[in-house]
């Protein structure tokens, strides 16, 4: 028997069982290590795969590698599309919305706070005096109280400045709006703010907001500022009365303008008519006298040969014409002593010649 023969059982009986157990343990460890390896490879793949990210069309991204932006200036901005970065803590990706418009609301000047406005709270009851600790308003140039609020629509043009130069850039825009409302209100009278020069007031607010955001290089472009204004709640009825008086005045002026238009147009027509009448009278008169002169020249020779005969012939010719064309002819019988006519005030219906009573 060869004591080195591995196929022979160890002396005493126990060793063969130990060997089998060791083998089983080794086998189990091998299997476990294999699973661990698989898991480790999987984790490495997950680790590397977690670095993929997408930049959407309305945003830009900045990749910080060990805290430092990858690229200088605008080259540091990642455009829309798929990208890859080392997982944290090596790389850090910061996404910033750029092209989409963002709203910022003012927080001073209105009788409701921004939160109350967002919740749709009702108007507070009118108060005869305003506590500055709780009420908010602006002062107009003519030292009147007025409520104003504004909403700015902006988009980010320089994401690096917007994100890395300011802790809270949106708060800056909100306060720029607040400041712009106070400044602009201080330059306009209450009537200009509420009615007569509202658009100029809005433009001044927008101009001031742009001045402030550009001045601090906030990296945004203010596209639009909407402004809303209101009289103090306590005086709203009085302001409405002023508006009503203005409407009444406008109506009165419209009526007067209408009267003017009608009257002047009528006068123009009447004047034209009078001139035309004069012109036609002139023409008629000139034509008549010319006709008379022509007849005179034509008949003068005949007349001068025998004036009496000429007159008789012309007279007879005219009488013939007249007797023929007159509407009624009444012959008075010879030796009549009287002639009676019945004259009606109202014109008679056209029948025949007037009845006569001899």
């Amino acid at each position: 028997m060869n004591p080195q023969d591995p196929n022979l059982p160890p002396p005493g009986g126990a060793p063969p069982a130990e060997d089998a157990a060791s083998q089983a343990l080794a086998e189990a460890l091998r299997s476990s290590f294999f699973i661990v390896k698989i898991i480790m490879v999987g984790l490495v793949l997950v680790f590397l795969g977690s670095g993929f990210f997408t930049v959407r069309p309305q945003e830009r991204a900045i990749k910080l590698r060990l805290g430092k932006p990858v690229g200088q200036g605008s080259q540091a901005l990642l455009n829309p599309g798929p990208h890859w970065a080392w997982p944290a803590p090596i790389d850090e990706v910061i996404k910033i919305p750029t092209t989409s418009l963002t709203n910022a609301d003012s927080t001073v000047g209105w009788y409701l706070t921004a939160e109350e406005r967002a919740k749709g709270a009702a108007e507070p009851p009118p108060a005869p005096q305003l506590n500055p600790a709780t009420a908010s308003y602006a002062l107009s140039a003519d030292t009147n109280i007025v409520h104003v609020k504004a909403t700015a629509k902006y988009h980010i043009t320089d994401p690096i400045a917007f994100h890395f130069d300011f802790v809270d850039a949106p708060a800056f825009i909100t306060n720029a709006l607040n400041n712009a409302l106070i400044v602009a209100a201080g330059e306009f009278s209450v009537d200009a703010i509420l009615s007569s020069n509202r658009s100029a007031f809005r433009e001044r607010v927008q101009q001031r907001v742009i001045e402030l955001t550009d001045g601090e290089k906030l990296g945004v472009s203010v596209d639009q500022v909407d402004v809303d204004c209101s009289a103090p709640l306590y005086l709203k009825a009085k302001f409405n009365e002023v508006n009503q008086a203005g409407i009444e005045r406008d109506n009165l002026l419209n009526l007067a303008q209408s009267y003017k238009t009608t009257n002047v147009l009528h006068a123009i027509g009447e004047a034209t008519n009078r001139v035309n009448l004069a012109e036609s009278a002139r023409k008629r008169m000139v034509t008549m006298i010319e006709a008379e002169t022509n007849a005179f020249l034509r008949l003068r020779g005949q007349y001068e040969r025998n004036p009496e005969l000429f007159k008789r012939i012309r007279q007879m010719a005219v009488l013939e014409n007249v007797y023929t064309n007159v509407e009624a002819k009444i012959m008075v019988p010879p030796n009549s002593r009287e002639l009676r006519f019945q004259l009606n005030r109202e014109p008679q219906a056209p029948t025949s010649t007037a009845p006569t009573q001899p």
Binding site: Q129, V264, E270
Partner: protein, 303 residues
């Protein structure tokens, strides 16, 4: 256990990561890192990237935000130069300019409502009250834009606050100060409302009377214009009539050569025109040529 290359690689990576965590620190853009050696500042790193360090607790790293931070100042009632009372509050933007000083004075606190902001707020309030107190009410709001000094006041407050901050070891720089609220004392608002009510009533009566005056003016202007138009037309008509008469006079010179014939012609034509229509003639037999109807009487006897 056998040491496979993969096991060695994993172990190496783990050791590297652990070593980096112990011996390196990272500074982001817009951050400053203060490295302290048993509490003493030994290095300040302001540029972004990796920095070397000794492991904690030998060296400690504190990071400060170097971006512009902001806070709202408290509203104060200020007596202006013209004795007018005004409530004013401002909005302040500041930035850590000296991280070492800031850290030594305030620790790592640059958060809202921190001691740093409260102290800075007090300092700005002093500047605001002092500067505003030198100005009149009309410097804040005025219908005369030349008189208004709103932006100048903001600049003066900023310069004064910056000067005060320089004299401290706050380690910050004030970047901007904007007035965010102006208000009147509560009792004054009541007077303002009374005045505004009276102004509105004056406006209402003025608007109404102005409207009536303007409407009357427009109407009388219209009447005047119409009257002028008609009188101009009458004048023009008279001129035309005169021109017609002048033209007629030329023909009269010809007619004057035989006035008897001219008169006869015109009379006979007028008679013809006059009796052309709707006329009723009452005739007796003596009227020429009706006398010829009287057969019993001599033919040569007229009438």
């Amino acid at each position: 256990m056998k040491r496979t290359p993969l096991t060695l690689a994993v172990a190496f990576v783990l050791i590297v990561i652990f070593g980096m965590m112990l011996f390196f620190y990272q500074v982001r853009k817009s951050e400053a890192a203060i490295v302290t050696f048993f509490g003493k500042v030994v290095h300040v790193k302001t540029d972004p990237g990796l920095g070397l360090r000794l492991p904690w607790p030998i060296e400690n790293i504190t990071k400060l935000d170097e971006r512009i931070q902001n806070f709202d100042g408290k509203a104060d009632q200020i007596k202006l130069n013209d004795q007018f009372n005004l409530l004013l509050s401002v909005y302040v933007g500041y930035q850590i300019s000296d991280p070492t000083n800031f850290f030594q004075k305030w620790g790592s606190g640059s958060l809202p409502d921190s001691q740093a902001e409260r102290s800075l707020g007090d300092l700005v309030r002093s500047s605001k009250n002092e500067v505003a107190g030198r100005h009149n009410f009309s410097d804040f709001i005025s219908t005369d834009l030349q008189q208004m000094k709103f932006t100048n006041i903001e600049r003066e407050i900023l310069e004064d606050a910056q000067r005060r901050v320089k004299g401290t070891n706050f380690g910050v720089d004030i970047k901007f100060i904007q007035i965010k609220k102006i208000a009147l004392p509560e009792s004054v608002t009541k007077d303002v409302f009374t005045r505004m009510t009276s102004e509105r009533e004056t406006f209402i009566s003025r608007i109404r009377s102005d409207g009536e005056t303007e409407a009357t003016k427009i109407k009388s202007e219209a009447d005047k214009q119409a009257s002028l138009l008609l009188s101009d037309a009458d004048a023009q008509a008279r001129i035309i009539q005169g021109e017609g008469e002048a033209e007629m006079m030329k023909s009269l010179e010809i007619l004057q050569e035989n006035p008897d014939l001219a008169t006869f012609n015109m009379q006979i034509r007028a008679l013809e025109q006059f009796l052309q229509k709707k006329a009723t003639l009452v005739l007796d037999l003596s009227t020429s040529p009706l006398q010829w109807l009287k057969m019993s009487e001599p033919a040569n006897k007229d009438k």
